[in-house]
């Protein structure tokens, strides 16, 4: 699509409210600062900033990380990589460097999805551009931090990941805000491509604050025999988040696996979910979400669309209400366009099972301890099969929420 056409569409969608989530007036926020400061050392960042990113799995010493990227407000602070066959740069830089890069920008994500994508386009937003060259297996995870650091500001991010044929990578995306950020907004467009036989594990840890809102927009394209694994974790307070990544399984035998664990403290609105389009024969999709409300509102959407024969897909949603005032809504949807499909869903909303609590109390644990262990189990059950390093990050994050002390 020509840039004129993109601009025309973005302009047209400038006022288009999103399908889901409370409407946010983007004009109430000023675009967060964008300074030229790439090349900073993660180790020499402010203490406060360092602590923030560590909490979302981004380690400044880059131990056991194959590459790193850090975005502070709208400034790219750091890009680096430790291994051959991996490229870590900014999206704007990639567009300058590679003629073909434009084919991966505003391709998976439609510019006129809603006013947030339109705004992201209009601001010429920047973000990470990660490429794993064909056949390369990146052993350690690549990490990217996106941090809000200003008042009543808007972060506009445009990310691209390309995993080429037969290549593989684990990616950790840590999104957070410092205590300098107040009443701010995170907008992102992320376009992920997993080519033939490739594999991408994409783990997002969100740790915003009770006055921050977020509207990430993510679309993933998965080719023949390729695998996409998504893990999403949001355990802390946030004012409002709405996300609904869409994965297109375009090639035969492509696979996608989504797991999410989220906690909604009082005053938070989480509108989460995802959609998988099984567009080729023998594709597989699995969506598992585990959520807990301690007083906030959680909506869990899930949509499976079966368009090709011999596909298999499963949707599972398990939500616990831990306190009065908490609201949990599960909306599973299955859509099939032909008979030769196997699509199932399970949804459960409620409180912690009494027989489980009493069983653990009979071993001498207090009621609170018992509930803590069970809730932790529900959450951790949502992320089984994570690569070890990433699982450790998530377990640390769960520890920090003090779930055991609910």
């Amino acid at each position: 699509m020509s840039s004129e056409e993109l601009r025309r569409r973005a302009k047209h969608a400038g006022g288009k409210t999103a399908s889901y989530g409370d409407d946010i007036d983007v004009d109430n926020f000023q675009v967060a600062p964008r300074e030229l400061r790439a090349g900073e050392d993660l180790e020499s960042l402010d203490r406060d900033l360092k602590d923030s990113i560590i909490n979302v799995g981004v380690v400044p010493d880059q131990q056991e990380r194959a590459g790193s990227f850090l975005l502070l407000d709208n400034s790219i602070v750091h890009t680096s990589k430790q291994v051959e066959g991996l490229e870590v740069m900014s999206t704007q830089e990639a567009l300058k460097r590679y003629d073909w890069a434009k084919d991966f920008v505003w391709n998976a994500v439609q510019v006129d999805t809603d006013k947030y994508t339109a705004k992201t386009f209009m601001e010429d937003s920047d973000g990470y551009f990660i490429r794993v060259k064909s056949g390369v297996h990146v052993a350690h995870p690549v990490q990217a931090g996106q941090v809000l650091d200003s008042v009543r500001s808007m972060q506009n991010v445009h990310n691209v990941i390309i995993v080429e044929e037969g290549a593989s990578m684990q990616f950790i995306s840590g999104c957070t805000s410092t205590h300098c950020a107040k009443e701010s907004l995170h907008l992102a467009a992320s376009e992920l491509y997993v080519m033939k036989g490739g594999s991408l594990t994409f783990t997002t840890i969100h740790n915003w604050a009770s006055d921050i809102s977020a509207r990430p927009r993510t679309v993933i394209k998965v080719a023949e025999d390729a695998t996409f694994i998504d893990n999403y974790i949001s355990l802390g307070p946030i004012r409002s988040i709405q996300l609904y990544p869409k994965v297109f399984l375009d090639g035969p035998r492509a696979k996608a696996n989504f797991s999410s664990i989220s906690v909604a403290p009082p005053g938070c609105k989480l509108d989460m979910g995802c959609m998988a389009v099984l567009g080729a024969p023998e594709t597989r999709a699995r969506i598992v979400s585990r959520s807990i409300t301690t007083g906030g509102e959680i909506i869990n959407r899930g949509r499976l669309v079966g368009l090709a024969p011999m596909i298999k897909a499963h949707l599972e949603c398990n939500s616990l209400i831990m306190a009065d005032g908490g609201i949990s809504i599960a909306i599973p949807e299955l859509e099939a366009r032909l008979p030769d499909v196997e699509m199932t869903h399970e949804a459960a909303v409620g409180k912690v099972a009494q027989d489980q609590v009493e069983y653990l109390m009979a071993r001498g644990l207090s009621e609170d301890e018992a509930v803590g262990i069970i809730v932790r189990g529900v959450l951790e059950g949502g992320i089984v099969g994570l690569p070890d390093q990433i699982r450790l990050e998530v377990e640390k994050a769960i520890d920090q929420t003090n779930i055991g002390a609910l």
Binding site: A353, Q354, D355, Q356, E358, Y359, L360, M361, A362, R363, G364, L365, S366, E367, E369, A370, I373, I374, R376, G377, V378, L379, E380, G381, G382
Partner: protein, 246 residues
């Protein structure tokens, strides 16, 4: 150690236990026989304090303390432990986490699990997909972590194969033969109340007394071996008939 007086219990509005009296002194092991559905598990669950079981009258005392209305965890901390006939699944919670939380680091988890051939179950979700025999071994392992001085065991040997029964039989004997309640250093000599249908567990432990529970009432009592033999030959009816005559 445990004393039950005039206990009446309802489950979902239906009376299951009638006027139960029981007195189990420190250091003794008692056995409970009785037909299916007679209320044996209900009695144990009521002593443990599970909320489904409502005491409509009567009292339960443990080590001199009235625990009729005490919460479950308080009873457990006082020293009551139970091997459940049908423990619940808890998805996402590993057996190891429960052992760690209950033993308070007072037990070498690897070693204890090894002795019960449960090493490979430590990372499994507790009870989820465990076979009948595996459930029993997991329950015994958890009791070992907890270290109660009053052990209630609901059919510890049912569904256990002939080789494993040697392992769990000896383990149960060691548990009952142990001293003290959990982490408290007192010299309390342990007691037990064991439900069995097959009587196999009696080959491993020394029990002083047996009861037959039928229709929610204790019908008769006597020496465990004699009672077991009588039930094997004549069924429960003879005991029930004698009881009615007296």
């Amino acid at each position: 150690m445990l004393k039950v007086e005039g206990l009446n219990v309802e489950v979902r509005g239906k009376q299951v236990l009638h006027d139960i009296d029981l007195d189990i002194p420190e250091g003794s092991t008692y056995v409970l026989f009785g037909p299916n559905g007679s209320g044996k598990s209900t009695l144990l669950a009521t002593i443990m304090g599970f909320s489904q079981f409502e005491v409509t009258s009567g009292r339960i005392f443990f080590r001199g303390k009235d625990i009729t209305d005490a919460p479950i965890d308080e009873r457990a901390r006082l020293g009551i432990g139970m091997l459940m006939q049908r423990p619940p699944n808890i998805p996402g919670v590993r057996l190891r986490s429960v052992l760690k939380a209950t033993s308070g680091d007072g037990m070498d988890v690897e070693r204890a699990a090894g002795e019960l051939n449960m090493d490979s179950f430590l990372e499994r979700d507790i009870n989820v997909g465990f076979s009948g025999g595996e459930l029993k071994r997991s329950e015994i392992l958890q009791l070992q972590a907890q270290g109660p001085c009053f052990l209630m065991m609901d059919e510890p040997e049912s569904g256990v194969d002939l080789v494993s029964i040697q392992v769990i039989g000896k383990k149960i004997r060691d548990l009952i033969g142990g001293i003290g309640c959990g982490s408290d250093g007192s010299g309390t000599i342990r007691s037990a109340l064991i439900i069995t249908h097959t009587g196999q567990i009696l080959d491993f432990i020394e029990a002083q007394k047996a009861f037959v529970l039928a229709n929610g009432t204790i019908q008769c009592s006597g020496s465990p071996d004699v009672m077991f033999e009588r039930i094997r030959r004549h069924g429960y009816e003879e005991c029930i008939r004698c009881h009615q005559r007296n």
